[in-house]
Amino acid sequence: MSPPRAKRLLAEAANCDPAAIADDAAIGSFESWDSLAHLRLVLALEERIGRQLDPDESVRIETLSDIAALLAANE
């Protein structure tokens, strides 16, 4: 199961209910994860971890699991 905080972060960025996000959510898998939501997501992630993501990190954000992994790696 995906950690709830990753799902909450994605839900806030995508302006949707966390319950509506599947555990295997990925870019292209639901409509509200669009280009502007992705922008909000990456900026929120950076704010959460307190630094700018490097390009190798930000380009790997494709799934809910990627978000969770990034948060876990920066605890």
Binding site: G28, D34, S35, L36, H38, L39, V42, P55, S58, V59
Partner: protein, 193 residues
Amino acid sequence: MTIHTKGRPVLLTSKRFALRSLKPTDASERWISWLKDPEVMGPLNAPIRKWTAQELMAHIGSADNDNRYLIGLFDLASKLQIGFYMVDVDQFHRRATFNVVIGDRSWWGKSVVNETRAALLDEFFNNRGVEKASGTPLARNFPAVFNYKAQGWRHEGTFRRQCLSVTDGSRLDQYQFGLTRDEWRAIRLEDAQ
């Protein structure tokens, strides 16, 4: 003013948009305003330009519909131009590099790029001899990166500190995204099933 008319103009429609090669007479105050808008030009690291209509007309006239295309996006409902593509074609390598500007902010976040770029990929891959498409967004142009990924392009590499910011002189990272004709046809087949 030199107007190149070498190749066949593009004329396409997608579900919501008309896409057509632009002519110098398409120069408009609307378009000129986009070139002055930091929020439009910033993600592209393009300098703010205060062009006159004549300068914009000359720029449009430099596209020859062969090596360089300037293709306007027009909302089918309002008929207004909302943005444009610049597509550079390397004829020898049969490769096209896509750049897009959605100048009308009211269309941001509404899947304009992937709807219209799909129509262009069909056209360039099927009718204009292109075998490879490329795109090179800035690494922090997150909406553009999203669009490439959502459309099935592959991240082929990262150019670290590749270019100089036109706003603050810092060095910026850039990605290379790519899509082959065969990959695009496989995506289209999958979408149709």
